[in-house]
């Protein structure tokens, strides 16, 4: 007799812990063929707010960590992901070779971003030669808590939107792909075992049309990545809501995740701080 498998309960990831939705709600996740796969948690407004609180709480420590430390931790995430390549390939489904390549690309993308932690300031900062006896230095700083609506691509896309936000010191609340949320929760297991402080990344599963506007309107969120919102009306609504506290909104055209990501996903959620200091005896 074959062994009956022990299935995993897919929960949310908030503040480094894995709670169920406080609402007790869930929704059915199906395979490409329409078969039942799992019940995913359907996060509520309260869950979203808890996630923002957790992200805000993690912000001082994470943004205050040395860039070297943040880079080491992102590289550690890549190491942990590498160790679970087979699991992720299986979860992604579809042709095995293609799935494996997507997982490999996700690991490499993390490594690429890990290296940016202590380089972005050299590339985007500047010593400004002002016309006067002043020292004048501009450095990039993280914007704060960023809400990210993740794209449909459930792993490479997800990594490609989370890594650029956190490598510079932001913390985030991520709305996972609605149709393929399970790799996001498995990724949370990777994040939870990679020395990433709790609350730096918080993952919500559920209905994008509910969660995105709540986060867009949240007054303690500083940035909003709408890359995963395909419904133009929803995106417009979110962008309008975001205007209330002038969130930095990123609304890219559809992206090919296999291409060189460039710097825009990092720079959109960076502030430039310029320090003046007089020079004189």
């Amino acid at each position: 007799m074959s062994r009956l498998s022990v299935r995993k309960t897919y929960k949310l990831f908030i503040g480094g812990a894995f709670p169920r939705s406080e609402s007790g709600r869930s929704y059915v996740v199906t395979s490409a063929k329409g078969e039942f796969v799992a019940n995913a948690a359907r996060a509520s407004r309260k869950d979203a707010r808890d996630a923002v609180v957790a992200a805000r709480k993690a912000f001082p420590g994470w943004s205050g960590a040395t860039p070297y430390n943040r880079g080491q931790i992102l590289y550690r995430v890549a190491e942990m992901l590498e160790g679970r390549r087979a699991q992720f390939a299986e979860e992604l489904g579809g042709p095995k070779k293609a799935a494996a390549e997507r997982v490999d690309a996700a690991v490499d993308r993390l490594v690429w971003y890990a290296g940016w932690s202590d380089k972005i300031a050299s590339v985007r900062g500047a010593a400004n030669p002002v016309a006067g006896p002043y020292f004048n230095l501009s450095t990039p700083e993280p914007t704060g808590v960023v809400a990210v609506v993740a794209p449909a691509d459930p792993l490479l896309g997800l990594i490609s939107v989370i890594a650029p936000v956190i490598v510079t010191g932001n913390t985030c609340v991520v709305v996972a792909s609605e149709n393929a949320p399970l790799p996001a929760i498995t990724l949370a297991e990777v994040l939870a075992t990679s020395d990433l402080p709790g609350g730096v990344v918080n993952l919500l599963t559920g209905h994008q049309s509910e969660l995105a506007p709540w986060l867009a309107a949240h007054m303690d969120v500083n940035g909003l990545d709408l890359g995963g919102v395909e419904d133009a009306d929803l995106a417009l609504k979110c962008e309008q809501e975001a205007a209330e506290n002038l969130k930095r909104v990123f609304r890219p055209a559809s992206e090919d995740w296999s291409l060189d990501p460039g710097l825009s996903r990092m720079t959109r959620f960076l502030e430039t701080k310029t320090v003046w200091h007089p020079v004189g005896i």
């Binding site: 070297y68 880079g71 590289y75 380089k119 590339v123 200091h277």
Partner: protein, 482 residues
């Protein structure tokens, strides 16, 4: 009342020193053709191992291996090169204790420094440059080429010659950026400190680095000269004395080799009357007694404002009385052994010149071990700018104290040297720090701190302290065809 410290020696069981070591060429250890030499523990004069000497034929084999590997290595996507270098960084972290103990045994520096400064910086340096390997197009050096590629290209084979004061750290400063940019290397460690470089060769094997990407050739000056003069080397990087730097610049003249030099220094550590005295004293001690003063950027000239001279010197002498000199493997040791008999002789000679030129020598009461090479922390007061101990690099734990009255005078005296590697400024006034920094002709200016290093921060000299920078974005330029 003073408490004695019980010995707290670090165990040397973590290192496994072989009786003899060969050269590392094309991914394998090979015999050298020259007469082997021995490397000793400068704290005990005990022989540690026999080391192969690479002749010019051996160097030629190493360069050929590097040339062959260059095709493969430079053609790898940057992201793959990055992963190799990240692996190296990780293995260094994993074997940190072993590297630290070996470095202290071979070099004589206190374990506290090799463990807390050298080895962590080495790992950080590889980690940092690993991250550049796939981001070179963002570094701003590239011209778009006709084949549509952007970003500057690697140079080819780099010949690198490094000193004995920070053996593994200097190796990291040389190899990490070279590999990240797609070059391959032939590196010659110093004659008195080859062991960590040879352990690094083993680390390259553990990382599965393709053969020939890193080659290590050991030997004395002749081996280094053969590396520098080899016609198939495209880039020469040297850290060491200004005297040898000049010879290398002369050798390289007229060739297409790209050259970077990190040479001597005679840094001024300038203390103003408003400085926090205790912090300044710590900075002065760190500036000149870190690594027994075997530091090219050491703060070997203390320039103190006349009004606080007495107070500062009293505090400095009190602090020097608490420094512990002795067994480098003891975790309480502040000052280890002088690296070699030759260097000890040079420090003694320069100190005697200081006496004969009329400066006043002072050292705290300090018992020196009977075996090994030792020199007590030493302060010369009443030093004039014309004195040789104020002009020449001693490269030992010897501080020359001069005074000044105005900021302009401090600048004048600080810059009155052929060197220009580093400087220190101690004052509570921010605008004065920046005013001084604007006028100091030195590649690194530390304010209210000293001897700070970070892979993201460029390091290198003005004037006869050499040219080129190591570290940071600027450090890539030395290894790219720009």
């Amino acid at each position: 009342m003073a408490f004695e410290y019980a010995p707290a020696p670090e165990s040397r069981d973590v290192v496994d020193i072989k009786p003899s070591y060969g050269l590392f060429i094309n991914g394998e250890f090979a015999e050298g053709s020259g007469t082997p030499f021995k490397t000793i523990n400068p704290a005990s004069e005990e022989k540690l191992a026999e080391i192969a000497t690479a002749t010019s034929d051996d160097v030629d084999r190493a360069v050929q291996a590097a040339r062959k590997a260059f095709g493969v290595w430079s053609a790898l996507p940057g992201s793959e090169r990055a992963k190799y270098i990240f692996r190296i960084a990780r293995i260094i972290q994993e074997r940190a204790r072993e590297l630290a103990v070996l470095e202290s045994l071979d070099n004589g520096k206190p374990i506290r420094e090799s463990r807390d400064v050298d080895v962590p910086l080495v790992a950080a340096h590889f980690f940092y440059y690993a991250g550049w390997a796939d981001k070179l197009e963002h570094a701003g050096f590239g011209r778009r080429t006709t084949d549509g590629h952007s970003g500057a290209k690697p140079l080819g084979v780099a010949g690198q010659v490094i000193p004995w004061n920070f053996p593994l750290l200097m190796l990291a400063w040389k190899i990490a950026p070279a590999l990240a940019c797609g070059n391959t290397v032939v590196l010659k460690p110093a004659e008195t400190t080859p062991l960590t470089a040879l352990l690094f060769a083993e680390i390259c094997q553990q990382a599965d680095l393709p053969p020939g990407v890193v080659n290590i050739v050991t030997g004395a000056g002749e081996t280094g000269a053969a590396v520098v003069a080899h016609p198939d080397v495209n880039k020469v990087a040297f850290t060491g004395s200004t005297e040898v730097g000049r010879i290398i610049a002369r050798t390289v003249a007229g060739t297409d080799k790209k050259l970077t030099l990190e040479l001597g220094g005679k840094a001024a550590n300038i203390v103003f009357e408003d400085a926090a005295v205790d912090q300044a004293v710590e900075g002065i001690v760190n500036g000149i007694f870190f690594n027994q003063g075997h530091v090219c950027c050491a703060g070997s000239r203390l320039l103190v404002q006349e009004s606080v001279q007495d107070e500062l010197l009293a505090a400095l002498k009190r602090r020097l009385g608490t420094l512990r000199l002795g067994d480098p493997l003891d975790k309480n040791t502040d000052i280890g052994a002088i690296n070699s008999a030759e260097q000890l002789a040079k420090i003694r000679e320069m100190s005697e010149i200081g006496d004969s030129e009329g400066a006043e020598r002072w050292s705290p009461p300090c018992d020196l071990p009977e075996k090994g090479f030792w020199f007590p922390p030493t302060v010369f007061t009443g030093v004039a700018q014309s004195h040789r101990i104020a002009r020449e690099e001693i490269f030992g734990p010897v501080l020359s104290v001069l005074t000044f009255r105005t900021p302009a005078e401090a600048v004048e005296k600080a810059n009155n040297t052929p060197y220009g590697l580093s400087a220190g400024v101690w004052t509570e006034k921010g605008s004065r720090i920046l005013w001084m920094a604007d006028r100091l002709r030195a590649g690194v200016v530390w304010a209210n701190t000293f001897n700070k290093f970070d892979p993201t921060s460029p390091f290198g000299g003005y004037k006869e302290s050499g040219y080129g920078r190591e570290g940071g974005l600027a450090g890539l330029e030395a290894y790219l065809d720009v």
